[in-house]
């Protein structure tokens, strides 16, 4: 009898390959998830992130009997590589990765290569709380339609931060940045593209300087790249001599920028996490004289998501975890700057007054920026621009 059921199960699972035996109704999924071990592959570079995921693990254990294991990555691509290796070796059902913290290019490539499970996000009871009808950022990732293949988790937006003990009037636009750098040479820099924060700086500058914004939201092949990006390169050519080390070397990433802010090497930097400076102050990593702000014309913002690989071993568990992470309780805990300070994806007007109160009660930390200050969000460019910009940057500024 057992063998028979197993055989049917196998037959079904090979037949409906895209959704290996996962039940359609939510209660069924929760039931199936009980006792599963979910391997959550997420960048593990920061204790605050790690502590938050540990908190979430305790919650899903109590609520759903799921064991959540944080696989700490130093780069999301490690998980991507794993999935590719498994696919290459023909492992289509017993993947080691159950859930990935992902967005942008990584998502676009995995989706294009057919390496993601889905669509599944529509099944999550908490998904409507993000108000997807009115919030296109919940359903598009770097302009790529999500189509239910990843669940929104966190919002991010470019913010600048400066040390007011070292500089008084930080620039509020890219053209001002150039002027500011000339009077404060060596005190600003950006991570070396293709590091994503560095590329983001290029995109942010391009958005402000280019007179053809529309082109940036379509595939790069449709635009006249030279013409659209010309203002960016003349801006960078003018800026580089006034950067840290005169632009002859660039920091590796955002944390390197923060470290140089801590040492007083730089007096101006930027981040994708509006609360980064505030938590670094709380952690006595940055001095209390650091302040965060948003550029006048608005800054690039994006959403990061949770995706399930096509061959994940514990898809039901992964979905339940994703749903929990989207719950008002988990989102409010995450946005609390004392825990992590990462911005919620929930739409406040979709929440009950009780749940909304959780968010209203959150403190605004020293050096942080109020959520209301983050109104002017500019959308991410079409992902094809990333590769084109990175390549053009390297051709121009990499020593030959």
């Amino acid at each position: 009898m057992k063998a028979f059921i197993l055989a049917i199960g196998l037959a079904l699972s090979t037949q409906t390959f895209a959704q290996t035996g996962i039940s359609e109704n939510w209660n069924g999924i929760v039931e199936e998830a009980k006792g599963q071990i979910v391997y959550f592959n997420a960048w593990g570079g920061e204790s605050r992130t790690n502590n938050y995921i540990r908190w979430a693990a305790e919650q899903v254990e109590d609520l759903y009997g799921i064991k959540l294991v944080h696989v700490k990555l130093s780069d999301t691509s490690e998980a991507v590589s794993r999935v590719i290796a498994e696919q290459q070796a023909g492992n289509t059902t017993k993947g080691a990765v159950d859930l990935i913290w992902i967005n942008g290019e990584n998502f676009a490539t995995l989706k294009r290569a057919g390496l993601l499970h889905g669509p599944w996000v529509g099944k999550l009871p908490n998904f409507p709380l993000t108000d997807p009808e009115n919030n296109p950022e919940m359903t598009t990732d770097f302009t790529v339609p999500v189509e239910g293949y990843e669940a929104p988790w966190s919002k991010a937006q470019v913010v600048f931060y400066y040390d007011k003990s070292l500089t008084e009037n930080p620039p509020t636009s890219m053209s001002e940045l150039l002027k500011w750098a000339k009077t404060n040479p060596g005190e600003f820099s950006y991570p070396k593209p293709p590091q994503f924060l560095g590329t983001t700086f290029l995109k942010q500058a391009l958005l402000e300087l280019s007179d053809n914004r529309d082109a940036l939201y379509k595939p790069v092949e449709e635009a006249n790249f030279e013409e659209v990006t010309a203002p960016l390169w003349s801006f960078l050519d003018a800026l580089h001599p006034y950067l840290w080390r005169s632009g002859r070397t660039f920091p590796d990433n955002g944390p390197a920028l923060r470290r140089m802010m801590a040492d007083g090497v730089l007096s101006l930097a930027f981040s994708f996490n509006p609360n980064e400076a505030a938590s670094a102050i709380a952690n006595s990593e940055l001095p209390p004289t650091v302040r965060t702000y948003v550029l006048n014309g608005g800054t690039i913002g994006n959403v990061s998501f949770l995706a399930i690989p096509f061959n994940a071993s514990h898809k039901a568990g992964a979905m339940v975890v994703a749903n929990f992470l989207m719950s008002p309780e988990a989102q409010a805990h995450k946005q609390n700057p004392e825990n992590w300070g990462s911005i919620t994806v929930l739409a406040m007007d979709k929440l009950s007054s009780e749940d909304r109160a959780r968010f209203d009660a959150l403190p605004i930390p020293v050096g942080g920026v109020a959520t209301q200050g983050l109104q002017q969000v500019v959308g991410e460019l079409h992902p094809s621009w990333i590769e084109a910009l990175e390549r053009a940057w390297q051709e121009r500024y990499m020593a030959h």
Binding site: G44, A89, R245, D263, S284
Partner: protein, 558 residues
């Protein structure tokens, strides 16, 4: 059983590596249908060729390898020429293992924090001497010629080369040779260089090649200290493998093969240099100079060694101070306040990775030890050197990790072995085994065979000889080799993460993940924790013989 041991080792080690490398060849030529490459082409190579700054990347990798090895070798040999059992030298000797146990990345980080314009050294002299209120905008770390990379690597390789040289020296009768030369009027340092050094070099040649290959292909150290506009080739390859745009995998595969080529080229160049130096050396010996350069050698040896040790030591100190630092800005020499909070926050998360690290390292080192001892014992019993094929053992040390590890991951998946502890242990074995073989084989071979003959004539069996003669007499080098194996295993990142699918969490995977967040205090904490495991290993290796032989005076020196 023993007879096939060499072949067993080769099967365990070499086949997977060969397999892993073969898997990287098709994508390097554009073939990987999964990613849309379904025709063989030279496109990845053309792309590689047109990568901005590629020739510079290659040049820096090449130059760093040669310069680091030459520097480390010169300092070690000059020091050994000056070496005599004075208190200073014994002290140096004792410091080597702890310095060796600091993982490369942590040491590099400490070194970077030491010499950076905002670093500890300059803080010590600012602002009272230098006048700097803010860190000066000068390029010290990440300099375009890789000078800080060379320095950072050399201070890690010096302890390694010194340790293997000290292990090999006893079989050269160095003291008698030097005495003989001195009786002919040679100054002590010159005597050593002329009569001992050539023989010693022959014995440590393989470790030197390993250093050369490592310095050419290192990723983590080059990321921290190396140039970045462009980065070294190895760093570029890893970044291409990590690029979200999957079409970069083709470029990465071609790059990995190129890296292999560059490492090969470095080895060939070194070999050519060997020939030249040998010729010059011969001429120098034949000229018969008794004293010229004696002082220079002493100064080079002593000051080079002191520099290397103090830079490593200060780097460690920098790690420690950071791990207990509150807010600490340039130019303060000390943090404004100290706190244990970074340690306290880390402690609850240390236990599990620590246990895993110990289990994996213990298993890997034990298995490697068994295999190596079996191979060496077989060699003794046969009374002829093991099959030449055993040279292949060193392949994992000479081939850049990125080149074959991703292929091996695919292989282990194909064989139906998902991520598990044992797969990781096996992955570590690839690197632990050669190092254990490297450190143990010379001591094993040099053991006076007459002990065995005597035991034999007293009717002892082969097994009896092994257990009652060789093991006790070789206990110290065996334990040292074991400790080194533990250290090597504990420091592996890529094999652990790739083969363990991220599920096998060790101190090193944890440390590397956290260091990507760039918090210096956390890097300090985890760097020190990371150094602790190997350090404990070396400590036991030194203490156990002392305890065991405390009542046996004759064994104290064994």
């Amino acid at each position: 059983m023993l007879r096939y041991i060499s072949w067993l080792i080769i099967a365990v080690l070499i086949l997977p590596i060969a397999g892993g490398m073969i898997l990287i060849i098709p994508p390097a030529f554009g073939y990987l249908p999964l990613l849309g490459g379904d025709a063989i082409s030279l496109e990845p190579w053309q792309r590689l060729w047109h990568t901005p700054g590629i020739s510079r990347s290659i040049g820096v990798s090449f130059g760093t390898g040669l310069a680091t090895t030459a520097l480390a070798l010169i300092v070690v040999f000059a020091f050994l020429a000056t070496f005599s059992p004075t208190r200073f030298d014994r002290w140096v000797n004792r410091l080597m293992s702890p310095l060796l146990s600091v993982p490369h990345a942590a040491a590099a980080f400490g070194f970077a924090f030491l010499i950076a314009p905002s670093g500890l050294l300059l803080r010590g002299f600012s602002p009272w001497l230098t006048g700097f209120e803010r860190p000066p905008d000068i390029m010290v770390v990440n300099d375009p010629f890789g000078l800080s990379l060379i320095a950072g690597l050399a201070i890690k390789e010096i302890p390694f080369l010194l340790l293997v040289s000290l292990a090999a020296l006893p079989q050269l009768n160095a003291q008698q040779k030097v005495m003989l030369a001195r009786s002919l009027g040679y100054h002590p340092r010159i005597a050593w260089l002329k009569v001992v050094a050539p023989g010693l070099y022959r014995l440590v040649r393989l470790p030197v090649y390993a250093v050369l290959a490592f310095a050419t292909s290192t990723v983590d150290v080059a990321m921290i200290l190396g140039p970045n506009l462009p980065s070294t080739l190895s760093v570029q390859v890893v970044q291409w493998f990590n690029d979200p745009d999957l079409s970069y995998r083709f470029l990465a595969a071609a790059g990995a093969l190129l890296q292999l080529l560059v490492t090969g080229m470095t080895l060939v160049t070194w070999w050519a240099l060997e020939l030249t130096v040998a010729r010059l050396f011969h001429a120098w010996i034949r000229r018969g100079g008794r004293r010229g350069g004696d002082r220079l050698i002493r100064v080079t040896g002593r000051s080079g060694m002191v520099m290397a040790i103090s830079l490593s030591g200060l780097g460690l100190l920098a790690l420690f101070v950071n791990s207990v630092a509150g807010f600490w800005r340039f130019p303060s020499s000390w943090p404004a306040n100290f706190t244990l909070s970074h340690w306290l926050a880390a402690l609850p998360t240390i236990e599990r990775p620590l246990v895993t690290t110990l289990v994996v390292a213990g298993l890997a080192a034990s298995i490697a030890m068994l295999l190596v001892l079996a191979a060496l014992e077989q060699e003794q019993r046969q009374n002829k050197p093991a099959t030449r094929a055993l040279c292949l053992l060193y392949l994992p040390l000479l081939i850049p990790q990125v080149g074959f590890l991703s292929g091996i991951t695919v292989l282990s998946e194909m064989a139906g072995y998902g991520p598990s502890l044992l797969v990781v242990v096996w992955g570590h074995l690839l690197f632990v085994l050669p190092y254990i073989y490297l450190t143990l084989s010379e001591s094993y071979r040099q053991l006076d065979p007459r002990w065995a003959w005597i035991a034999r004539s007293l009717g002892s069996s082969q097994a009896g000889i092994f257990w009652r003669i060789r093991v006790p007499l070789l206990l110290r080098p065996m334990l040292m080799a074991f400790a080194l194996g533990v250290a090597i295993s504990a420091s592996q990142y890529l094999p652990t993460q790739l083969l363990g699918g991220g599920r096998i969490v060790t101190i090193t995977t944890e440390a590397v993940a956290l260091s990507s967040g760039g918090d210096r205090r956390l890097i300090g904490v985890w760097g020190l924790v990371q150094a602790m495991v190997p350090l404990l290993g070396f400590l036991f290796a030194m203490l156990i013989p002392k305890l065991l032989w405390r009542r046996r005076k004759g064994m104290q020196r064994a």
